[in-house]
Symmetry: C2
DNA sequence: TAGATTGTTAATCGATTAACAATC
DNA sequence: TAGATTGTTAATCGATTAACAATC
């Protein structure tokens, strides 16, 4: 039933989810597209269009039930499924991700942390032992792994891509500041911190220009 | 001279910059929009349109000079200007950012790291001492600060927003998993790791559906 | 000069917004 | 029932792609 929903829509879903989560915490039961639009600074029309890609979740004259909409979007995003994550690179960034509490709440379970630095061997982060990278192959063969987070230095990244592909890990969460070349069936989600910084830099430059 | 270039275009500039940097390293002197488009998996038309927003950087019959285009895009993005950054929250993520080498290469200089945890007091990361948050006001009054990176826990974020606004720091690089409510003249660049994870989750769910 | 490739206009495509009938 | 608000169609707007004359 994948009607191929546009990426622009998908990218907005986590934001809806976040806002609905906040409303839920505040104990708000229902909300109209109009009120939500004021809160989120988008048009009510867009909210209704977006949600209707997945089905009619609202009710005329009432609006949307916060709790059930939140849950539904969670399901759409696959947050009710547990994903097993390995983190490749146990430096500050890798450890930050391993400590990231949201992680587990959203169904992402860190099952392994790998590094090349022998000093880190045996240390653990939130009950996950840091292993050496030469144990990686064996580990993946023994354990289900859905996502490999790339937090190693840039120069090790392409090498690990090849490993990940040959081990048939379906998805990569890429923090290495480079474009990974990959077969089409591997899912990649890039977090280019460097690009984000450049955007900030541009905005500052434009501001000063005025 | 800000003709208000569309955000879609701006968001693509860092990627061009990255590719051109790679080409430069490989010693490639010139490239046509056509060759670059094949490399980057976008249309040649889009490349030419994008670049022409800022001026005619190419030459008919020749293409684009890699080195000068790289430099020009760097200037457009404001990478030749030094920005002073404070990191608010010296946990793993804050320390990871402080260690981020790209950072300084792009004109971002970490001038201060702040935390509430007294155990961290006096420790330093890449020659930047960790200070206590109560020293923050004084520090900002003595030093130029352009960007505050928000790497503290979510519940401290809105409090720090108020501080940043009253101290007139122009920009926030936000890693806290929440929407910050801010006056319009404060620049914010959000890095919602949580959203990125959800996107990944969605892609995995869709894949499994097939 | 001939060939290549840009800069730019025009055509197409897709995404957003507006409007309103359906309906709770 | 009357009022509110959705779901959805139609209109608009903006972004991408195609095409080609200009020009190096």
């Amino acid at each position: 039933m994948s009607k191929d929903i546009s990426n622009a829509v998908i990218r907005r879903m986590p934001r809806y989810y976040r806002y609905l989560g906040d409303l839920l915490e505040k104990g708000i039961e229902r909300i109209s597209s109009n009120d939500l639009s004021a809160l989120m600074n988008v048009t009510a029309s867009q909210i209704r269009q977006d949600l209707n890609n997945f089905g009619g979740f609202g009710q005329q004259g009432y609006g949307y039930n916060v709790k059930s909409l939140h849950k539904t979007i969670g399901t759409i995003l696959g947050l009710d499924i547990t994903h097993h994550v390995v983190i490749l690179g146990a430096g500050n960034l890798g450890r930050a991700l391993a400590n990231f509490v949201q992680f587990e709440r959203r169904g992402f379970k860190v099952v392994g942390l790998f590094d090349v630095n022998p000093e880190l061997k045996g240390r653990s982060v939130r009950n996950v032992k840091i292993m050496m990278i030469d144990e990686f192959d064996g580990f993946v063969k023994e354990n289900k792994v859905d996502i490999a987070a790339f937090t190693m230095p840039r120069d090790k990244a392409q090498l690990m891509v090849d490993k990940v592909v040959s081990l048939k890990i379906p998805a990569i969460w890429n923090f290495a500041n480079m474009e990974l070349s990959l077969p089409d069936d591997v899912i990649v989600e890039n977090v280019h911190l460097s690009d984000s910084l450049m955007q900030l830099s541009y905005d500052l430059a434009k501001r000063n220009e005025k």
